[in-house]
Amino acid sequence: MKAFWRAFRRNKLALIGGVVVACLFVVAIAAPWLAPWDPHRPDIKRILEPPSRAHWLGTDQIGRDVLSRMLYGSRVSLAVGFVSVGIATAIGILLGAAAGYHGGWVDGSVMRLVDLMLVFPRFFLLLAVLAFLKPSIWTIMAVIGLTGWMGVARLVRAEFLALKEREFVLWSQSIGASATRIIWRHILPNALGPVLVAMTLGIPAAILTESGLSFLGLGVRPPYATWGNILNEGRDAIELAWWQSLYPGLAILVTVLSYNLLGEGIRDALDPRLRQSVGRFGGRGR
């Protein structure tokens, strides 16, 4: 742990990423106190106003304050990021652990399922699934989670394959510990490092996916403000109000960038060799 901190502290970019991520948390929690205006209250007299002292980032088509909407939107992004990555990680750990520990046909079928899921272009699959479901923020979280577990599964499987031959595992097996106990108490704690990295890199990917869906009008619906649907509404005023398009996207960019820097920093500090296995294809939504 100490070695980890020493290595992590030396990485300035990762530190900056961590600080920004922490700030985003504070902003999301404190949104009701930070927001200068009510994000849902229209003001017909102040439609599409450019950034000014009263409205720092301007107003939208029905006179709502863009900054306040973005502050509230950060809550949705964060929630979607965490919950969907939580779902994906849970599925990934369960399937990956089973595949890596038991091997044989379990491993074979889990890996085929992973291959299969990876063949689907993610956005096409997401859209098809969403077409059949009633739209809500929970649906979005579940769907992003259910289509994003494959990386974690592969990773956990690889860790298990390596760890199950180690002495401490063989020893527990020899004294008759059950498979469940060995998996959860002995192997998994040792495999958590890479999983943590995968989660940190998975959150920005989920945020990008959610904002992409909301941008298409198929994600989180109004009146909830999210960065994606502010951008969606901004498209209608694209010729008049650049501020409605510029700032939410910038927020997404900074958020995703910070998480990626933080995640890569944690990875390099944990073990530079992980570079090979974790996050080669991570960090991007689709």
Binding site: D115, L116, V119, F120, A128, L253, L261
Partner: protein, 318 residues
Amino acid sequence: MAIPLLIGITFISFLVIHLAPGDPTELIGGDDPVQLQSIEQLRKLYGLDQPMHVQYLGWLKRVAFLDFGRSFQPDGRPVLDKIRERLPVTLLLNLIEMTIILMIAIPIGVRSATHQYSAFDKITTLFVFVGFATPDFWLAVLLQILFGVHLGWLPMSQLRNPMWEYLPFWKQQWDFVSHLVLPIGVATFGGLAGFSRYMRQSMLEVIRQDYIQSARAKGLDERKVIGKHALRNALMPIVTILGLSLPGLIGGSVIVETIFAIPGMGLLMVQSVFARDYPVIMGNLVIVSSLTLFANLVADLTYSLVDPRIRVGRRGRR
């Protein structure tokens, strides 16, 4: 390897239909005659009153002959016709994108690997991080605002000028190209970051190998060492990564086609989802993923052509 995956694709797609709470026909709702007709058609198409395995087998049989039923849209055309009309557009766009990505990413990757930690390397690393984090839809909108609205240099959407037929030949070509600049630019941007990164990584690994040292030791020109010996070996993993990132590239066309109103598979998908045009959605999903699988297969085969070592003892992708 491919056949079970193909069947798997149809199975997952079939499961998607049954995700809907209760009966997918309930979601269509309403009771005007057109919708009732759609519901009836959907029941018949998927045999929703029969047990699951009968439904699936019946559906599979029709899908095997590429029969996806008819669209729910007023035109009621066969789904396959609609897809056939849109597919070439998406394929063309993705092909151009991929070519451009490789043409730019490979030299960038090689240079930043051979000049590791140089200013060039640092700038491209920065670009890679920003490229990874930039939402493509946002970039697209910003470019539309800049080049379409404020500068007025490039058309903001669609593939052709409405007056296209009346333009002289050369103007027609220019019109087509100018419509492609923004969408291709946006679609290339994200992939560029990834591929230049992989290329750099791959090149770095190769440069450290013994055979590169020995090529240098025998007095070969550095350009020859890099361009011939190193590059060939460094390109091999890129072929695999190309195959693996195909679903991502094709998935990206949903966003790009929607923003720029390009009549491809992605736009068709989004329109069908909004219209709850289930036959088109299912047909789209099955066709797009089967094509991705096919492309993956081609990448795998190419890989074994480029690298004879893996023809022996390599079973599937890891």
